[in-house]
Symmetry: C2
Subunit: 346 residues, 2 copies
């Protein structure tokens, strides 16, 4: 089955309209007619070659919402017409300790990424900037009726990436949570942590987006470019979720944690970071990392968002504006996620 | 009250017999006739000036066991003749969130160290290489009758330093725990983790102490000088307690953790360490630190040790051998803790 898609033909080149092959719908597969695909910063890193060589042409997109168009003979979880979503992974071994534990993202054989990945049958995966995709039903999420489909697309990556550490490290009533960076991930972190009942502080380079931050659910907003921030907030937080991929002064952020607190990175800077072990020992503090979330937790997150009326703040664009959108993401000129209306791919 | 003690007169100079002043027994104080004082590597760092200028003369010693000789008018917790212990701290503010939470070691005003510290009345504290010490009763532990007093002394630092992270990060049945380094702290870590029901692996530079490690409670013993160790044990541990203060390859040790595992340092290298954030993100891993333990948890640890028949492996020495013992500690020639018989101070 040949379908229309936007693909990067080579590293650093603009994306262009093309057609790609999708596999036949197997017994456990679901064919999805895509409606919306979010633009994640990872898409740009990948097609720019920042993360090494890629199997070009690459169709990015791992924040996918659509409608089931066909189901395989053995796939019972979804029905034709259901609104569904696909996130950052489309397969894993299903048998290792981590997969059995619902942590498919940490599959010991390696999870299969939604694009530029090698699927278990050896084929190269292609993502959501496309009209259709065929995905193993076990990796397809149900998108609750209450969610706006365009605003739901970014939940599949930006949502679960922040939801998972917030849940794992116990964000909730009585907890002081900070979110570092108010971008695609950060704005979801603020909404989710607030909905979980935590008191939320945004730590952003400047106060430029302060009004937004407070509107999205933060109670406090501080500029990290102001050294006083680190004095005034010393020892305050139970949990800090750092959504910024650029290197940070780890010791400075650890100093903001209360005893037993955790600083968790959801983005990875390319360079190694340095830290003084006393920053950890001096308050039983932890520096941790977290990567998206398992399938069951992703479904839990979607249900939580429906219950709390949470979606991403999105700017819906037509497919011919993808390259402009990339430039604007790199210039931090988006509040807070571009979502492609894939009906415009035609 | 003037008492006999062994003190370092200046940085790097041998310790020598002297007398020092102890304060009068106040209403909340306990006068302890010291019987045993362990020699901790920290003692050596401090008197050598490795940790900055010190208020010389310094009487080291924060692994103290003795008998109550006098109690203040308002001190009700201990009675004359009770066997008691004193660890690394002898005071704290008692009022901050951490003190109220039983984490006096993380007192926001700073805990008062047992020696070379500034007490709340402005005086300089002096440690356990001495015949007597006066300590606020709230910082004096009960040493259960079942414990050998010489073997109990190192529990007050080496014991609680390893017990606290093992408890905090859930060492117990079904858990894979590694202890890095088989020295004063490490040998206690092995005994305690084993008694808690965890399956214990020692990670030591060589296999030199393998027989000891297995006898103390480890099921496995691997040499970190052998690169195969890091391949074979990849992803194995729920918890790694690193008792080595020298810098380590953090990424290599993080790679030994299962999903959700924690590497916790109980010693702090002087230099900053470097790590690749992907080592954390790739398995929801944490790098943490822990410093001794609170007073209530220290008592819990002593009771646990009495219940399980656990003491340190000690070599009891007379006071005139302190300087020799320091040289042997620096040469790693002790299995596993020197303890001074303070009756020989006379």
């Amino acid at each position: 089955m040949r379908v229309t898609a936007y693909a990067a033909p080579a590293a650093g080149q603009p994306l262009a309209l093309t057609t790609i092959e999708r596999r036949d719908v197997g017994p456990n597969d679901v064919l999805i007619e895509i409606q919306y695909a979010g633009i994640c910063h990872s898409d740009i890193h990948t097609v720019n070659g920042d993360w090494g060589p890629q199997p070009f042409p690459v169709v990015p997109g791992h924040e996918i919402v659509g409608v089931v168009a066909e189901v395989g003979s053995a796939a019972t979880k979804h029905r034709v017409g259901d609104r569904v979503g696909v996130g950052c992974m489309v397969n894993s071994c299903g048998e290792c300790a981590n997969c059995r534990n619902g942590d498919e993202q940490y599959c010991l054989q390696g999870m299969v990424g939604t694009y530029a990945g090698t699927d278990r049958d050896g084929s190269t995966t292609q993502g959501g900037y496309s009209t259709h995709v065929v995905v193993d039903a076990d990796y397809v999420l149900s998108v609750p009726a209450g969610l706006d489909p365009a605003a739901a697309a970014p939940l599949l990556c930006a949502g679960i990436t922040t939801y998972s550490p917030l849940r794992h490290w116990g964000a909730g009533p009585g907890k002081q949570v900070a979110v570092v960076g108010l971008g695609g991930l950060g704005h979801m972190g603020v909404k989710l942590a607030h909905a979980m009942g935590a008191e939320v502080t945004v730590l952003s380079q400047s106060l430029k987006k302060q009004e937004d931050g407070l509107r999205l659910g933060a109670t406090h907003y501080s500029a990290t470019s102001d050294p006083d921030t680190f004095t005034q907030l010393a020892g305050r937080f139970d949990l800090i979720v750092n959504t910024v991929s650029a290197p940070i002064d780890v010791d400075a952020y650890l100093s903001l944690l209360a005893v037993g607190g955790t600083l968790v990175n959801v983005g990875a800077p390319a360079e190694p970071l340095s830290l003084n072990v006393m920053s950890l020992i001096g308050g039983r503090r932890s520096y941790a990392g977290s990567m998206i979330g398992g399938i069951a937790q992703t479904q839990e997150m979607l249900d939580f968002c429906a219950e709390h009326g949470i979606g991403a703040e999105v700017e819906v664009i037509s497919a011919d504006r993808i390259n402009d959108a990339y430039a604007r993401v790199l210039a931090s000129d988006v509040r807070y996620r571009f979502v492609i209306d894939t009906a415009t791919l035609g």
